[in-house]
């Protein structure tokens, strides 16, 4: 078995008396675009906060490229790229300055960072915005910049938390296609948290998360067949209604 880009085993998390995550387990393979599908409040963001160590993981095990997040957090975080649900770029700086700052936080010199930034922005189709202040970018441009920035330090795992929320259909489709391409070309594992079923292809691995529990795992096609549904939306509704 290959080393997973991300391995989550029996992870739970509570906020006081409320169980936000309960015994969550799944893998993200290198080169795959894995969708974490769930409605708002399913626990997707909590899971992201645990994987990124913004919350402390107390139960279960999380490993990135084999690096245990609790035992070797530096190695685990160094190999992870992140795109958060809301913007995390510095609005007062230019795109170039945001890249330099991000690179520095990963110990990369400005020269090395900018050499990568040019290529990454080019691939993301936003090379022309490099000297613009972030606050002047459109939502779609900012998202593409964030995705490009997340790959600056050559991660083996990219986490995207509802990264297309608020974008138009074309921007959403382009961003999803771009990440599929990057996963296939660079062997990066992508974990794509979403509640938008149309962003998931039939061959994409899918983890269905509902009220903090994993209800199903498999490709989109397998989940549809397993539920005897017509499409993924039908399968998702069948799964979530059955668990209610």
């Amino acid at each position: 078995m290959t080393v997973a880009a991300l391995e989550v085993e029996g992870v739970g998390h509570r906020f006081g008396g409320l169980a936000a995550l309960d015994d969550v387990s799944f893998r993200v393979e290198p080169g795959s675009f894995t969708a974490l599908l769930g409605v708002n409040g399913a626990g997707k963001t909590t899971l992201f906060n645990l994987v990124t160590r913004l919350y402390a993981n107390r139960s279960g095990r999380i490993a990135v490229r084999g690096h245990d997040l609790r035992r070797t957090p530096r190695k685990a975080l160094a190999t992870m790229g992140l795109v958060f649900q809301s913007r995390s770029l510095d609005n007062d700086l230019t795109v170039r300055q945001n890249f330099v700052y991000h690179g520095a936080l990963h110990g990369m010199s400005a020269r090395r960072t900018l050499a990568r930034a040019d290529a990454l922005l080019e691939r993301a189709g936003v090379a022309d915005v490099i000297d613009r202040k972030v606050r002047t970018l459109s939502g779609g441009q900012a998202r593409r910049v964030e995705i490009a920035r997340a790959m600056t330090h050559e991660p083996s795992l990219v986490l995207c938390d509802e990264a297309t929320v608020g974008l138009d259909v074309k921007s959403r489709r382009d961003i999803v296609a771009h990440l599929h391409d990057r996963a296939a070309a660079d062997g990066i594992g992508v974990l794509w948290a979403t509640h938008l079923i149309e962003e998931i292809g039939p061959d994409d691995p899918v983890v269905v998360l509902h009220r903090g529990k994993v209800l199903a795992r498999g490709t989109g096609r397998e989940i549809v067949e397993g539920q005897g549904a017509e499409d993924l939306a039908g399968a998702f509704l069948a799964l979530t209604e059955a668990s209610a």
């Binding site: 906020f15 809301s86 936080l105």
Partner: protein
């Protein structure tokens, strides 16, 4: 090791860049102490006598007496401004970029602190230059000798800002900091009046001032300006720095601190 230096330099560079872009912040950092120096000190010169006391060897003008306190005030406001900036970063989401860096959190927060000190030094020396042009002058070598004292006090006041930023959930709550942190720290200290003056009016106030870390920042700076070392104040400032920075690092620890107890009410 290079990566650590690059990371710390990157954090300092980013904060400096933001400061350079915020001209109003720089102007405000100069206007505030200048108002005290030109208006308050000029008015109080005739009322408040300052007797000869270490480190002074002769009678001095009240403007000269308050200068170290005003330098510390610049650093105090800068520390709180950095705290405000941390809260803003948390609300806008850019704080997460910092917190998910692979470098340890204590290191990232200390880098933030160093950035805050760098900016405060720039502000203090700009203020001292203006004061020099206004004929409020100190011994020439004092401007060099005071640098370590300014770094120490800047670290402490910045660390207080860091600690406060971990406890504040929203920018709107920041006005309370002005009322409950900045003003009491500044007024209940030796910045504006010598401790013996405070003791004359109230022994309790004297004790409050003695326990106030800002007093020790001011005295460390005051003695350094006259090429003297004040061990008690320096030790008190350094001790307070260790405690406050330790608490701030703990507060930002995802498994133990205040950030861990939050949910929903403010992003991590």
């Amino acid at each position: 090791m290079t990566g650590w230096i690059v990371c710390a330099a990157g954090v300092i560079w980013r904060e400096t860049l933001r400061f350079v872009q915020q001209r109003e912040r720089f102007v405000a950092s100069l206007v505030r102490p200048l108002v005290w120096l030109l208006i308050f000190a000029a008015g109080f010169r005739s009322i408040l006598g300052v007797s000869i006391q270490p480190p002074y060897e002769s009678y001095i003008l009240y403007e000269v007496y308050v200068l170290p306190g005003l330098c510390a005030m610049v650093q105090l406001f800068n520390g709180m401004q950095s705290s405000l900036s941390m809260v803003y970063d948390r609300e806008s989401g850019s704080m997460r970029t910092l917190l998910v860096s692979p470098y340890p959190r204590w290191f990232l927060l200390t880098s933030k602190l160093l950035a805050s000190v760098t900016i405060s030094l720039f502000q203090v020396y700009a203020f001292l230059l203006l004061a020099w042009f206004l004929d409020v002058r100190l011994p020439p070598w004092g401007y060099v000798a005071v640098l370590p004292a300014l770094v120490l006090s800047g670290l402490l006041l910045g660390a207080i800002g860091l600690l406060i930023s971990s406890a504040i959930r929203q920018l709107e709550n920041f006005a309370g900091v002005m009322n409950f942190v900045i003003f009491p720290m500044f007024f209940a200290s030796s910045a504006l009046y010598p401790l013996w003056r405070l003791a004359e009016s109230s022994r309790t106030l004297e004790w409050v001032a003695l326990l106030n870390p800002f007093t020790h920042c001011v005295e460390t700076i005051r003695f350094a300006f006259y090429l003297e070392f004040e061990p008690l104040s320096t030790a008190a400032t350094a001790g307070a720095l260790i405690v406050v920075l330790g608490l701030a690092i703990l507060a930002y620890d995802p498994s133990r601190g205040l950030m861990a107890r939050r949910r929903g009410g403010g992003r991590p």
